[in-house]
């Protein structure tokens, strides 16, 4: 059978995944702290057919410089996150924080896993604890004193609470942050959380503003780093590439049809 049918099928499968990745980026255009992803493709193995490259062609020592090598299609190498900084947008909400620079907030997830996130839309739990939008504890575990009327967060992540009737604010604590040698190796676990993997390396924890760590900005949120124009361009080229691969299938099919038609 025509190998071109299978080759084109690998191309269509790859472009389908490419479209899925782009669709997810566009869908998360307004997700706080979302980092866009990109699909990475690799060509598959090559088969030597006929003359092998490098084989001798004469007694004088001349060799075949290119041979006949045909490829068998394309595969998906992986998808990876582009960890560029998203734009900081002002929200005028005291409990919104954006990380400017490297690092993640560390969150205790209910299943015992440690989650890492850049989505800094924080809330206060009924017990006065600072939690994520889903109600999970933000490390190191910060509880505001009763009757807090004003919260201020410094660039270094220090939280100060002004208690009703008192003039001097009290220190509540500092946010914990983590950085990784290879941020691209973190696994997406949904809800804007990432988890450490062997590829990401071990987290180094510290506080905002430490050497190598970003700072936090109170009253801001980090928008996603999805660029609409480049996503749409990528979508168009993925769609066209898909179409071209389908044309290969059509052409191969036509050729097969031509052959089978002449049988009698």
């Amino acid at each position: 059978m025509f190998r071109s049918l299978n080759i084109a099928a690998t191309g269509m499968a790859a472009q389908q995944l490419n479209t899925e990745v782009i669709a997810n980026n566009i869908a998360n255009l307004n997700t706080t702290g979302f980092k866009r992803q990109r699909a990475d493709f690799h060509d598959l193995l090559y088969q030597d057919r006929g003359v092998t490259v490098g084989s001798r062609t004469s007694d004088a020592g001349s060799v075949v410089s290119s041979g006949t090598q045909t490829g068998v299609g394309v595969k998906i190498g992986g998808t990876y996150r582009i960890n560029s900084q998203g734009a900081l947008t002002g929200t005028e909400n005291n409990l919104d924080i954006a990380i400017n620079g490297r690092g993640f907030l560390v969150v205790n997830l209910p299943n015992g896993v440690t989650g890492y996130t850049r989505a800094g839309s924080l809330q206060i739990s009924p017990t006065g604890e600072i939690v994520t939008a889903q109600g999970f504890t933000v490390r190191p575990g910060l509880t505001l004193p009763a009757n807090t009327k004003q919260i201020s967060i410094t660039d270094q992540g220090l939280i100060q609470a002004t208690i009703d009737g008192q003039l001097v604010p009290v220190d509540v604590g500092r946010f914990e942050m983590a950085i990784f040698p290879n941020e691209a190796g973190l696994a997406n676990i949904g809800n804007s959380f990432l988890a450490a993997t062997p590829a990401s390396g071990n987290p180094t924890t510290g506080n905002p503003g430490d050497v190598g760590f970003g700072t936090v900005k109170q009253g801001f949120l980090e928008a996603s780093n999805v660029d609409m124009v480049s996503e749409i361009t990528a979508l168009i080229s993925a769609q066209r590439a898909y179409e071209m691969n389908s044309k290969v299938i059509k052409a191969s099919d036509d050729m097969l049809h031509t052959t089978t038609q002449s049988m009698r």
Binding site: D40, L45, S66, G67, G78, F180, A199, G201, M255
Partner: protein, 241 residues
Amino acid sequence: MQISSFLTLSKQMALTRQIEVTANNLANATTNGYRRTAIHFDSMMQQPNTTDVVAYPFEAETYVDFTEAAIQDTNNPLDLVILGNLKAFFVVEKDGERRLTRNGNFQLGPNGSLQTMIGETVLGDRDQPIRLNPSAQQYFIGPDGTIFSDADRSGRVRVVQLQDNSPLKRAGSAGFRLDEAGVEETTNFTIQGGRIESANVVPVLEMTLLVEASRHYEMLQQVLQMEDDRQSRAIDKIPSA
């Protein structure tokens, strides 16, 4: 069977190969750093008798097309492109096997080493892996391929240039097997970070080749059909005993 049928068949086989190569190029139209395969047909002369000369077409070789590819901006500091030299390559290694590639889609490995997307180590000059400082705030790429973690020099990526007519064996993942004898060190290039080289597949060209091969195949089938009819008519003309 007559020679014309064999001739037709040999060309049809060659066209099948052509369409396979085109299919692979199109399937890899979005593979970063991919170099398209081109195919070259040759003819094999045969003199079945003294009067006419018949030339059978056959596939002589596939070769790598090194023409320029588009460069895309990614803003990912560890995406590197080689500019100004179409036959220059990065050297990457995994399990002792070395490959040449122009796909500069690199990332930070778990231990701070510079890696490809499929976990191959990117080699620096003197074939040492490049170790970046994982705690650095920013990476800078110099035009000669030197990578800095903040202000500290982390290493320089090794770039080699293919010698003319050296055998080139594809190894998948937009790469070629490294044959040290076939390459030479070079300084004739510029490296830029934050950009990536796409495949050099030109969709219009591939689609034209595809249509051409498909129509040509059909035409040959007609020839085969006509030859078949001719023989069949000739048989009919033989008076039955």
